[in-house]
Amino acid sequence: VSRVAVLKGGRSLERQVSLRSGANVEDALRHLGHEVVSIDVGSDLISRLRSERPDVAFVALHGRDGEDGTVQELLEILGIAYTGSGVLACSRAIDKVMTKHLLLAEGIPTPDFVAFTQTAFRELGAADTLPAIEERLRFPIVVKPSRQGSALGIKFAGSAADVPAALVAAFSYDERVLLERHVEGRDLAVSVLDGPDGPRALPVVEAVPADGDPYDYESRYDIGRTAFVCPAELDADVTARAQAIALETYALLGCYGFARVDLMLAADLELAVLEANSIPGLTDTSLLPQAAEAAGIEFDELVEQIVELAFSRQSAVGGRQTAT
């Protein structure tokens, strides 16, 4: 039995999702007999952690602060064991541009893209390159903020006339945005779960949007708006390739504990990685819990395993090594 601080909520735009993830995790921890300290992350985070003195922190935060390495950095400083990936993997995974560059360098397929900061347009006249970019990526082009989860700020530009407004929208969320080639195909997610024998890929989940519904923020979290199929109905070799790519991505980013890798399966059966999530959703409709269940791992068991992994990292690494 451990004293587990569940970090949830916070001020990110994904607060509501995080509150639901956190509540689910708390229920599981109580079933497992752990002592739960529920913390809605705010300016009193450090004092709460210092006074509550938990054995381990379960980071059930999504988006800015919780998923980008900030809270992980604070937990490192306080010397509190925590679940999931460390600072470096979080910083990489939250940043789609960084992730895609790493994928490219490693030879893992990802849709062609171009990324810019706002400064490039405001001060360096990058707008003049848009026609060339549009020609290279071809329409429709997906415009995304680099560091923002839950599909917020993602727009489809069907023609050159749509691109400026899509960029303005994406820049509302982050200083850096990417224009990405749209891959027509099936939406797959492969969750990875660490274990005593190393990380393993869970069964593939396919997200099937309801008729005409774009795969947007709303439909992702509203029960019934998107149908999820797990295990996805795929040829065995496609499943194997998707799982192998997910594991490679997981290792490349340096993830720990668990993560989810989102991929597109094109009509020609080519796979491409869109992004990785270092703290994927743990709500009732979330993909990681669904995938775990398909692998015979109930939610309580999943939570227990994630907590145990937090302890084994603490004892193995014992804090970050720095040059002196």
Partner: protein, 352 residues
């Protein structure tokens, strides 16, 4: 029937009258708080636009005709005629008469939602639709939330007897009766007889806040933004150029610790994405001014970025950048805007 807040009236009326697919006519934009209720009962909402005189009642008959031709079942018209939420507009007397006349001729019920009517900061009070119609087709929703206390959760509905009977059945099913303790408190309060003084003190507090917001909008919002001047209530409705999505803009504004209600939540037909509702009653004049300054800055940033992206506006020059870096200096900001305007005009002149 006394209800648990005015919000319950909307729920009870919709529950009583609407079968899935039935039509409600509402202003566009309509009260965002009614939208989830309309959705929950699967009402089909048809919006009628507003202008400075409120709902375009002149378009009402053709809308009703069209619905009839399409074989759609209109159940009632939902309106906030006075200091509308979120639009801030007030229906003119002429249109009120017109609406009541059409309701009688076409035998259509009207739900008049009037939470803000007493919060008037200028001009003459207008009669409610209910008074003009005598309660034959108009159902009236009142609430103590805005003139006494929102926390006391007390509202009421007056309606034609056959409808009221059904509402009463719905009310019993929902929560049997409204807190009698709250009702006794409100009764005692109104028996004291000085409630109008309290409402007057509220209008004295809100009027300067409204003025502060309107002044700040004038000062800080870019020329491409449009808004109205409400004579009462709590809200100003702002419409931005259509390349700005206020749901996304809110994400940016929140980073500067300021919020507003994106317009998309006030429509059921996908419109309103470039609009926002601003509230002036909740914060002091100083805070309102600061909030508008921050929102204005974010909008200006996006307007400028859009201009740069479309080639309408050249990328910022080194000289302008120098000035812009002195961010605290309000005059510097104004100079950059001026410089850029000049450059744009020059470019246009050259182009022509």
């Amino acid at each position: 029937v006394v209800t648990t807040g005015g919000q319950q009236v909307i729920d009870l009326v919709v529950k009583t009258l609407i079968d899935p697919g039935d039509v409600i006519i509402a202003e566009g934009p309509t009260y965002p708080g009614a939208v989830p209720t309309f959705n929950a009962y699967q009402a089909d909402v048809v919006h009628i636009d507003m202008d400075s005189d409120g709902m375009r009642v002149d378009r009402l008959e053709e809308t009703i005709d069209q619905l009839q031709r399409d074989g759609r079942k209109l159940k009632f018209i939902y309106t906030v005629p006075t200091f509308q939420n979120p639009g801030g507009t007030t229906m003119s007397l002429e249109r009120r008469h017109q609406l009541v006349r059409i309701a009688a001729e076409r035998e259509v019920l009207v739900l008049e939602d009037n939470p803000y009517g007493l919060l008037r900061y200028e001009g003459e009070a207008l009669p409610p639709l209910y008074a003009l119609d005598g309660g034959v087709y108009v159902m009236y929703l009142g609430t103590f939330s805005k003139i006494l206390s929102p926390g006391i959760r007390l509202g009421w509905v007056s309606a034609p007897p056959p409808v009221l009977e059904k509402i009463n059945v719905g009310k019993q099913g929902a929560d049997l009766c409204t807190s009698t303790l709250s009702q006794l408190m409100v009764q005692a309060y109104f028996e004291r007889g000085d409630w109008r003084d309290y409402v007057r003190s509220l209008t004295d507090v809100y009027r300067p806040r409204r003025d502060a917001m309107l002044d700040a909008l004038e000062e800080f919002f870019p020329a491409q933004a449009e808004w109205n001047r409400p004579h009462g209530g709590m809200f100003v409705w702002v419409t931005l150029p259509d390349f700005i999505d206020t749901t996304d803009l809110l994400a940016r504004a929140l980073r500067d610790n300021v919020a507003f209600v994106p317009g998309a939540g006030a429509f059921l037909d996908g419109r309103g994405r470039n609009s926002m509702r601003l509230n002036f009653s909740a914060s002091s004049a100083e805070r309102t001014r600061e909030g508008i300054r921050r929102i204005g800055k974010v909008i200006s940033e996006q307007v400028e970025l859009y201009g740069t992206l479309t080639g309408e506006m050249p990328a910022i020059s080194t000289e302008e950048l120098e000035i812009a870096r002195r961010e605290d200096d309000a005059e510097a900001g104004a100079r950059v805007v001026e410089l850029r305007r000049e450059r744009r005009q020059r470019r246009r002149a050259e182009g022509a």
